[in-house]
């Protein structure tokens, strides 16, 4: 496999300014899957796998841990419900108005607004939290300038390791990816 490998880009660019990282091309999902396991086991943290379609089980192969979003959404949802409840509670105690002949102590009227506040806070914290955790909206990404990278939407599988990673070393990372079965490794500039 390595006989067909071509390496381009600036050798020994190091973690110098101007390098986004390294992208490695893989021919099929199986190789990509096992390469992801190799990169995971090598201890890299800032890297990602790009594929034209979802690869089943890639989360485990990449060592992605469950994120904190559900916990955040749950807590914010409960906060919303508490807020909706408190809102009505204080209004009712400070400005008690008898309407529809209902007793001022009726708990029933508190339920719909408490519920809706909970739902709205849950929905919005899920949406905004998802955007925040994904660093979206993102107007520019260095990888999209790379002609070859665009093939991940067609027939290529790519693992990109960022130069920002603590373990990143231009030469060693390249070798690691080639050993993992990459057919082509390139350096990407961050401009």
């Amino acid at each position: 496999m390595s006989s067909t490998t071509t390496i381009t880009g600036t050798p020994n660019a190091g973690t110098a300014q101007g390098t986004y990282g390294i992208i490695a091309e893989f021919p099929d999902p199986a190789t990509t899957f096992h390469a992801a396991e190799v990169v995971r086991d090598a201890g890299y943290a800032k890297w990602d796998v790009y594929s034209p379609f979802p690869i089943h089980g890639i989360d485990e192969a990449m060592g992605i841990k469950p994120n904190k979003l559900p916990l955040m959404v749950g807590l914010l949802g409960l906060t919303g419900a508490a807020l909706g409840f408190a809102f009505q509670f204080f209004v009712r105690t400070d400005y008690a108005i008898v309407h529809q002949g209902k007793p001022a102590s009726a708990w029933q009227v508190l339920v719909p607004v408490t519920f809706e506040f909970g739902v709205i806070f849950t929905a919005f914290s899920a949406l905004l939290g998802m955007l925040a955790f994904n660093a979206l909206p993102m107007w520019f990404h260095p990888l999209l300038k790379k002609e070859r990278f665009l093939r991940v939407s067609d027939d290529r599988f790519i693992i990109a390791v960022e130069a920002k990673d603590a373990k990143f070393d231009p030469e060693q990372t390249k070798q690691l990816l080639l050993h993992a079965g990459a057919t082509r490794v390139e350096t990407v500039s961050d401009e």
Binding site: P29, A30, F33, H34, H56, Q108
Partner: protein, 438 residues
């Protein structure tokens, strides 16, 4: 152990691209040891349940027979009514679960669908359980009593609430339920033998009118069998309330049955953590749905404050019945909701099965709260005034356990008659590779 040939596994992942992945389901075992139970499986428990059921029914009948006054007979009848409604809702919930998964071409549910089909196929039991009603119908439906005949509301409703029409409707409901349960069961069973893929399309075809007929029949079934027991009262939400309890108990029941089969060493690798995760999501989803519907019904009645509507709620929130209601609010919704929120609970079988059993129990308590207060109800010009002090007698237990135990024996009988999963279903591989990507 016969492994499924790799090319029959419809898998988008790369497992058939030369290099194999570590399978998340483990080796797939479709051998009879894993997918069937012997013909004599659980014979002891089945006979024990049957004996218990018959004994309880006998005791209930004796209690009704030997009752000194009309109230004693009514007590026995209504306890039995709670039991029959509990069994019916579980069967209806299973039937609608099967039809929905057929209608939407669900793949993931294939491995546990058979168990719901089994439960739904017990539907003729409903006809059997409803037969004794011929002897004590006026104990269930107050409007049949001579003293109700002059009631102005009954006069207005008499075109609908009369004995021949009611009998006709009940026969119609039972035929509808039995027909669609039979269709789903037999089409699935035929496929076990022939493996004909067209049967899947046929089952989907029959699920469509099935859902339509089910929706209307189940709603009117609840109007006739539960709501019209107090004919002054009405709630357009009641059909949905009944349906919510049905499908919730249907989901809980399939979790329980498959868990028992897994505990007996079957279905290994066929119903996995992933399936239970999704069944757990359905369980919490329908728990929320039930609570939403139950509160909607209550809230509108409370807010509108119309006497003939509030009377039903008033008698059930006084004399200690409010404590039963509180148990239902906390036990049927708040507690399971808070526990099931966590993913770790939905993927841990033991807690999930415990919660499924708990929800089934709470569902019976819910039906008890709807039906049983009528026993000692006192009326003023047709409107319920008081349900009397809340209390339990042994006949409450025998009346409920009777039908439920016979139903449970019926489930064991059905489980061992056919393979535990639809063994030649074209969507089987989809279920075997089922995984949650969240």
């Amino acid at each position: 152990m016969t492994a499924l040939p790799a090319d029959t596994i419809h898998d988008h992942s790369a497992s058939n691209l030369g290099r194999t992945f570590a399978s998340h389901t483990g080796p797939i075992d479709l051998s009879p040891a894993n997918t069937t139970v012997p013909k004599s499986w659980a014979n002891g428990p089945m006979l024990l349940l049957l004996a218990l059921g018959l004994l309880c029914l006998g005791a209930t009948a004796y209690a009704g027979w030997s009752a000194e006054d009309a109230k004693g007979l009514k007590h026995a009848v209504l306890s039995y009514h709670v039991g029959v409604m509990a069994v019916t809702t579980m069967m209806l919930g299973s039937l609608v679960l099967v039809m929905i998964s057929r209608a939407v071409q669900a793949g993931w549910s294939t491995t546990f669908r058979r168990q719901s089909e089994n439960v739904a196929a017990l539907m003729p039991l409903l006809a059997l359980f409803l037969l004794p009603y011929l002897f004590f119908a006026p104990k269930v439906w107050k409007w049949m009593l001579p003293e109700s005949k002059g009631d102005f509301l009954l006069l207005a409703k008499s075109w609908y609430l009369n004995e021949p029409f009611l009998a006709g409707r009940i026969i119609f409901y039972v035929l509808v339920f039995c027909f669609f349960a039979y269709k789903q069961f037999t089409l699935s069973r035929q496929q076990d033998i022939t493996g004909d893929k067209a049967l899947t399309n046929k089952a989907q075809f029959w699920a469509m009118p099935g859902l339509l007929f089910f929706a209307l029949s189940a709603a009117f079934f609840s109007f006739d069998l539960i709501m019209s027991m107090d004919f002054h009262w009405f709630s357009t939400m009641f059909g949905v309330y009944f349906f919510a309890g049905s499908i919730l108990s249907g989901v809980a029941l399939v979790i329980l049955i498959t868990a028992i089969l897994r505990a007996s060493g079957r279905l290994k690798g066929l119903i996995t953590r992933e399936h239970y995760h999704d069944l757990g999501k359905l369980l919490i989803g329908f728990t929320i749905f039930w609570a939403y519907i139950a509160f909607s019904q209550y809230f509108l009645i409370w807010y509108a404050n119309i006497p003939e509507e509030t009377a039903w709620m008033l008698v059930r929130t006084n004399n200690g019945w409010q404590n039963v209601g509180l148990v239902i609010i906390l036990g049927h919704f708040v507690l399971p909701f808070l526990i099931l929120l966590f993913r770790s609970v939905k993927t841990k079988m033991r807690i999930l099965v415990l919660l499924a059993c708990w929800q089934l129990l709470m569902h019976v308590v819910d039906l008890f709260w709807q039906i049983r207060p009528i026993t000692f109800m006192t009326y003023d010009s047709g409107n319920p005034v008081s349900a009397g002090k809340v209390g339990l007698a042994w006949v409450d237990f025998t009346g409920i356990i009777g039908p439920v135990a016979i139903f449970a024996a019926g489930i064991i009988f059905m489980v061992r008659r056919s393979p535990l999963i639809p063994i030649k279903d074209p969507r089987l591989s989809e279920a075997l590779n089922h995984k949650n990507y969240v």
